[in-house]
Symmetry: C2
Subunit: 629 residues, 2 copies
């Protein structure tokens, strides 16, 4: 009994009091709200969350069966890709959050139980579970993805545990986690997985269960990486972040999704162990990555080869890989850093990334997806065959499913749990990070947000009920919103705070400046030299025509668009159509003559491009050459 | 005996009269000179050809042993990459040309015989020869490279046959070719190889032997491709040109080396079968590729992913893959088109590609190589370990050898046979395509070229001896050389002709304008918008510093350079150093302010960059922002 008592003392998290949310740190500045405490009511994200439930989740469920990912568990060894199991796990996580935000849903719960039974049957007696390897367990840690898959299984288990409680899925996940601790613990294999993911999952399982060994194992994995345990492949060890120890890495590099997942795990470990040095290292890496390796859409991962970050300022718009999963990983990481620090810059990047790099992926019907998200497409793609999986790197038009199918179920789990990213509490009040319409139930009171944002700049925040004591409401004014006013008074970007004893029906109105803005890139981003982009509110715009030059001295005007939704604001730009003659050789010893004729150009929100059929696209628009040398 | 007589009648090429050169068409406008008829005496290419013999050939010979490529033949099945056999074959081709241009060389001939004996021992009784597959022959035509390897073996055999005559290497090559005809002929496997190469090799073997079945087999392979016989991989069937039949392809696409080798085979088939439609299709593809998919250096292949061409005008300087083998393939193709048509544009592209995209690959000591040849490198690379093979796509500095080792021996075979690309004959005279110092022995007479070109613009062409009849000397004036003079009279770019009865010691002096030129790219090449490049003569220049903006309104001046050779002309540009402040977020709603201070910048010939240690590099230089909006 003594051992048991010691174990109890080691439990740091107050497990029973935790909200149902993907990230619930034991310490840190802010505390998240659960998926059941935030209700997005319509608007940009609420309608997308509903679409996720009505279209994307059934679509993904259909495809994990069609692709064979479920059958792989029934007929071992499976024939799918080495990471195909994770498609099922991410779907299970998404279903769990969706059930959780509905305070339980019998249809979803039945599907979860059905899939959990399939997993349980395939799991070995010692907790090992992977449909590809069988007897050759851990024979290829570089590419095998076994620990990566466990990570997604464990995240699904945590979602289920927090939203529902112990069940078969949770049991399968815990058995897998226990297996990992036994197999890769201090006395086990001194190895890591080629694809990080297990680290952040184990910390969250620790947070959800209080079992310290999961945290210890995550810390071991974080510290082991970066010492060349994995093979030096053609992409180099940087591909899987095994080139330098995490504390010595100056900037995010290598495969972007691996990097973000790894950094999430490192932040989780840092927060749970009070490791300020480790947290500081990730913040520094985040800073340089944001300053020099991030697209204006928030997308990251400049290179198709290795699906990796480029070097500083290597941000080609046309060959931007910008994987949807990397954008999701970026949101996951910035969220952890926001919870740990309370700094607005992390919420700013989340907003930018969600509205542009994430929102662009699903089609308006929620049943097809971009995997790669470039900022320029030169030639209209062919209409994809929606009945079969497509290669991942094609970005001509959205596809139903992919040979490497990580993105659609990753989107589904993010969308189902999206409410948790809106607001947090701390000891003295509530922080509103994202200006989405909906309602929040907090220990301080119930808050309702009414707004047409991001189309409109007016946001009304109404306290519907409140505790009978003063508390602070912090409202994030976005970084671009210079000239914003709250209750009529000027406010600066960042958190603006209102300390008050709140009465039911107290209201605050935030007014954000919604005039469209011309945006110039740092001259070191060579690939968009001589171009400008356009933003309005948090949205980046683009043209679906590609032979147009703009004059940023002339104003942009709001116009209506057809076929993209009633609220959507389009923009009109004046400039010239570029009528370029054919040339036998495209390099000449004379400056090219301007042969332009005046023309107007329609700009649409970037996230909506490609919804009306095959088209080219560009975010950065050339400046009229008559202004150039 | 009747069958034999028919076979004799089918032999079109006059085999015995063929010069020892890599490409000897039976028809076409021009006839090449053999490697034994052209002597490059010093100068740019002569010194490099000597370096190839003294350094690169021993270096490659050393590495085909060190890498295990030779041992693979001794200890079947081999453990190398699926295309490792071709490293040995390309080296054998290089050794054969080198021996041939020396009119035989006992040391080289001994090495050839030694390697041929190794191959002969490994060859199966039916002619099959591949060290990787053994009993699983042709089980993976997409990636297996078996026919690709035969192609290089056959080209080595042709080189040996033409320079030396029948021997064991020729016998091994002919047995392999006969095996291919039996296995893949009209009644055999209806298949093609994932990597084209066999096509052009078989046509040349037909030309060298007169055996019609080799041509027929090549034609079969050319026509079979493009109908989806190979699997639809993630890169798509365009990767290996199996997406569209050759006659329907609008432009070169997919893997650049595969494309060029395939197009060479298609031209060879077209020329030998009189297929004007096929020849016209390749010329059209060449035209659009030159107009929209070619770097100013002549390099091609914009993408690392799939080592492929991009779409039109997708020509990023920093992520230019620009494989050395693609540049060599481009030269091979343009040479075939020049022989077929006699048009100067093909010789122009050969000149540009050789002086820039090919010459950049080897280091000044001929023992390390670039595999990828970008036009911009942002961060100095690390000094490579010259004792081990490096990944192919790293372009920080030149490496000794590569995991995929195609480029060094490909360079070696091109350099050993380079003389053949200088001049040709036709019925009425001699065409001088390239202005290299040296001497030509032709049926019309012996011609000596004296020049410091490309450093100097003065080229003296002296007829040392001549037949006693009038004949035409055609001299190519390069496309950039507006204002050139021949014997004091203005001449235009293209072939300028002199018809005369030549007397010994007759001289002509060509004067080319060598003032450096600012070069602007077509505005559709977005990645270099707002930039200029610099050329002088046929050479593209670059800066080894990367934070400099130039003012193209100010003149360039010639300067001396240290450590790159006495003849080398450097250039000085005036502009400003870009002192850019750090920014947390690199996109702003204000046009970036110029914070520049006046500075000078040294430009060196592009092909010499990276010879003096790790450095950044850029060909396209930003135009001073004070001239910009």
């Amino acid at each position: 009994m003594r051992g048991r008592a010691v174990l109890q003392e080691e439990i740091v998290p107050e497990v029973s009091r935790r909200p149902p949310a993907p990230v619930v740190p034991s310490t840190g500045v802010l505390t998240p709200l659960g998926v059941d405490a935030v209700s997005l009511s319509g608007g940009f994200w609420g309608s997308r969350q509903d679409l996720n439930a009505s279209a994307t989740l059934p679509h993904c469920t259909d495809w994990v069966y069609r692709s064979g990912a479920v059958d792989n568990f029934r007929d071992l060894p499976g024939r799918g890709r080495e990471f195909a199991d994770s498609d099922v796990y991410k779907l299970l996580e998404a279903l769990s959050w969706e059930s959780g935000r509905r305070h339980g849903d019998p249809v979803l719960d039945t599907k979860i139980d059905e899939l959990a039974a399939v997993l349980a049957k395939a799991q070995s007696g010692d907790g090992y579970l992977n449909t590809r390897y069988g007897s050759a367990r851990y024979s290829d840690l570089e590419w095998g993805h076994e620990l990566y898959c466990y990570g997604h299984l464990i995240q699904a288990g945590v979602a289920r545990l927090r939203c529902h409680g112990e069940d078969l899925l949770v049991e399968v996940a815990r058995r897998a986690a226990d297996h990992v601790c036994a197999e890769f613990g201090p006395d086990g294999r001194d190895d890591i997985c080629g694809h990080p993911e297990i680290e952040t999952a184990l910390v969250e399982l620790y947070r959800a269960t209080g079992e310290r060994r999961y945290l210890d194992q995550a810390k071991l994995f974080v510290e082991r990486r970066g010492h060349g345990r994995l093979a030096d492949i053609e992409f180099g060890r940087a591909y899987y972040q095994d080139d330098l120890p995490v504390r010595d890495r100056p900037v995010f590099s290598g495969h972007a999704v691996r990097e973000f997942y790894f950094a999430c795990g490192a932040v989780d470990v840092a927060v749970e162990t009070g490791d300020e040095e480790l947290l500081g290292a990730i913040v520094r890496q985040w800073e340089r990555t944001v300053a020099a390796r991030t697209y204006v859409t928030g997308a990251t991962g400049s290179r198709h080869a290795g699906e990796s970050f480029g070097v500083d300022f290597e941000l080609p718009p046309d060959r931007a890989y910008g994987e949807t999963c990397a954008a999701i990983g970026s949101v996951m990481l910035s969220w952890r850093l926001l919870l740990a620090t309370g700094e607005a810059r992390f919420a700013d990047l989340i907003e930018r990334t969600l509205f542009n790099a994430v929102a662009v992926s699903p089609s308006l019907d929620g049943r097809s997806f971009f995997y790669s998200n470039p900022l320029q497409v030169r030639e209209p793609g062919e209409r994809p065959d929606l009945d079969r999986p497509l290669p991942r790197s094609s970005a001509g038009l959205r596809a139903s499913w992919f040979d490497v199918a990580c993105c659609p179920p990753n989107l589904a789990r993010l969308m189902a749990s999206l409410g948790t990213y809106q607001a947090t509490t701390e000891t003295n009040g509530v922080q509103l990070h994202q200006l989405w319409p909906g309602s929040l139930s907090t220990t301080f009171g119930r808050i309702v947000i009414e707004t047409g944002y991001p189309w409109s700049g007016q946001v009304t925040i109404r306290v519907e009920s409140a505790v009978d004591a003063p508390w602070r409401l912090s409202i994030r004014v976005p970084e671009w919103a210079h000239g914003a006013r709250l209750a009529g008074r000027p406010v600066e970007p960042g958190y603006t705070v209102v300390d008050r004893r709140w009465a039911p029906d107290d209201r605050l109105t935030l007014e954000l400046p919604m005039a469209p803005r011309w945006i110039w890139a740092d001259p070191r981003i060579d690939a968009v030299r001589g171009c400008v982009a356009v933003e309005r509110g948090p949205l980046v715009y683009c043209a679906e025509s590609t032979s147009f030059e703009v004059d940023p001295a002339r104003p942009l005007e709001e116009i209506r668009l057809a076929g993209l939704g009633a609220d959507v604001v389009g923009l009109g730009a004046r400039g010239s159509g570029a009528a370029l003659p054919a040339a036998m050789w495209p390099y000449r010893s004379e400056r090219p003559a301007g042969t332009n004729t005046p023309a107007d150009c329609v700009l649409i929100p970037y996230h909506l491009w490609g919804n009306r059929g095959p088209t080219g696209m560009r975010v950065f628009l050339p400046i009229d050459r008559d202004g150039h040398s």
